[in-house]
Symmetry: C2
Subunit: 344 residues, 2 copies
């Protein structure tokens, strides 16, 4: 049995979802993968920072988070910074699930660099650092013989990167097209069912799919971040956000949606990447797809990606793009890949 | 650079497709995966058997196969049995692509056992041995510290088993549903477009999707074999073909297809596996799916599978179910998994 001691940075939905999974599935993870996870430290901007070398109580962490503070959880140390906890706590892995920022990638990028430089493995669901600094972080991990896993940055726990980067590595990926943002796909599905953009957005906000300021989703920034990540990982490019030709869904009116419907088409916000000679072309824009297209039938908040390959033709993966347990699963799967034994 | 010496048994479409890939992609495989493949032996019931410790010419093999005999290929030895070639040729891996038989699994099972007992890795696209003898062959491989790869037995090179067995291992798979036979899906798609069963079958035979005796496909035997494989691998069951409740598509008339269409539904031949207490329930039967279902929109000879999981919800993979290069890719990917270095 292998004991893996974790430090969790960012204890919001994703950090809590992950903790819930390792609490509920502790026995089956031990039995099937030979791994016991313990959380020795939690650091959250809002809830506080606690550390205990003998492991924190998982149920206690979840209960305390619901009250807005980790004060009530018994711990050996309190108030440590991430830097201190990495240096003095020496976890086996950093579970990085703090707030995402596609402009600066901070503070997540700083935390990830600190861990990797100390030879500590990192798993993250944070798009910012990977969209902005993938090549640098990968080199840093190699230099310090640490691993970095980030399956959750595209399509939550749906194993999109493992498929594109590993399983299709030798198939010759020529093109990638995807519905990479659940919020906009939900809005377009609602509009197709008859609502206006304003009504659909309000519904998405009510259900927690869209934030109060929906710009990041509806103007295509979130999808563009994922397009950059896929370009750099799957196509070996070195793109920045500004290299993605980006158009959101705010210019689509109810009439456009209904006109497409009448023609047997459906508007989808499509992130696309294509090899163009030695160059990689990347875009995010609304496309009216024929209903027979595999991506046209992906409705609601679901995500999907189609890899067009030289040897295998089209391979499409459809799955959840967000969610507490779904994204928590990405962290678990990355940890199993890093610390587990191959079970195939 | 690692040199991997292969023996190919069965030099039909799949064996030739694989050979074509390692010929065309030799340089990129060497560069990206650090592997050079050579074929030191080929054994085919129809074309003959040749061996050369220094490697056979790949283009020469493909040219000779087109003439119906391997006679013209320069070789050190001719007429060796599979047993002799494994014992005296000592390949690093056996590429097993001989004729499939879901009743006996022979002669493929015998070849696979011979190789594993000699500590030789095996990759195969042959459903028979895996549907009939998976648990035995896996144990044999472990005993002799050899690996066995068989991604191609379900959905050709589309990495269905890697997804279900590896990437979703910790997600809690509760149910699997799939379109696992391209021939019947093609026939049903043709019937939906307006043809009769007889016309659709004739078209499938003309295009090479269906054999002269189509029983194995249209009565659901082929899909049932894949259901057994998925049950045993993904759900940890120990089912036999006879445990699958099986019904083919021959009782579906053009009227049934059109009636479903009028109701917004589509008939699909669905292989299904479900955890039922401690028991695994498996079936193959035609189901009229609502057109919104992700499997309802998989048309023509394409295959697809939906894994319903506890942590991730539904994960659907859509891709090619057959084809020379598509199935050849499965062999290549298995070989890279066995002999290559992790590149993620």
């Amino acid at each position: 049995m292998k004991n893996v001691r974790l430090m969790v940075v960012g204890f919001g939905n994703v950090g809590q979802g992950f903790t819930q999974i390792i609490r509920d599935d502790a026995e089956s993870l031990a039995e099937r993968f030979g791994i016991r996870f313990s959380v020795i430290g939690v650091n959250d901007m809002r809830l506080g920072s606690i550390y205990d070398p003998n492991g924190l109580p998982l149920q206690g962490l979840l209960d305390a988070a619901a009250t807005g503070s980790l004060e009530s959880v018994p711990a050996a140390e309190r108030g440590w910074s991430v830097e201190t906890m990495l240096a003095r706590g020496k976890p086996d892995a950093l579970v990085e699930a703090s707030f995402t920022d596609l402009q600066t990638g901070e503070p997540a990028s700083t935390y990830i660099r600190l861990a990797l430089k100390a030879g500590i493995n990192v798993v993250t669901t944070n798009k910012g650092p990977i969209a902005l600094n993938y090549h640098e972080l990968k080199a840093l991990a190699q230099e310090h013989q640490a691993c970095i896993g980030f399956e959750g940055v595209v399509m939550s726990g749906t194993p999109t990167l493992a498929l594109g980067v590993n399983l299709l590595a030798a198939a010759g990926i020529q093109k990638v097209q995807g519905i990479l943002n659940g919020t906009t796909n939900f809005i377009l599905s609602q509009m197709e069912a008859g609502g206006s953009y304003t009504e659909a957005l309000a519904e998405a906000q009510k259900l927690g799919y869209a934030e109060a300021d929906p710009t990041g989703d509806v103007e295509g920034f979130d999808a563009a971040g994922k397009v950059v990540i896929l370009s750099n990982l799957v196509m070996g490019a070195d793109l920045r956000l500004a290299d993605v030709a980006r158009q959101g869904i705010t210019q689509l009116a109810a009439e456009d949606i209904q006109a497409a419907k009448a023609e047997g088409k459906r508007w989808k916000l499509i992130g696309a990447i294509e090899q163009d000679g030695s160059h990689v072309k990347a875009s995010v824009k609304p496309i009216a797809l024929p209903v027979k297209h595999p991506l046209a039938n992906v409705g609601g908040a679901t995500n999907a990606v189609t890899f067009t390959t030289r040897l295998l033709g089209d391979v499409t993966l459809i799955g959840s793009g967000a969610g507490r347990l779904e994204t928590g699963y990405a962290l678990l799967n990355d940890l199993l890949a890093v610390h587990g034994e191959q079970n195939f």
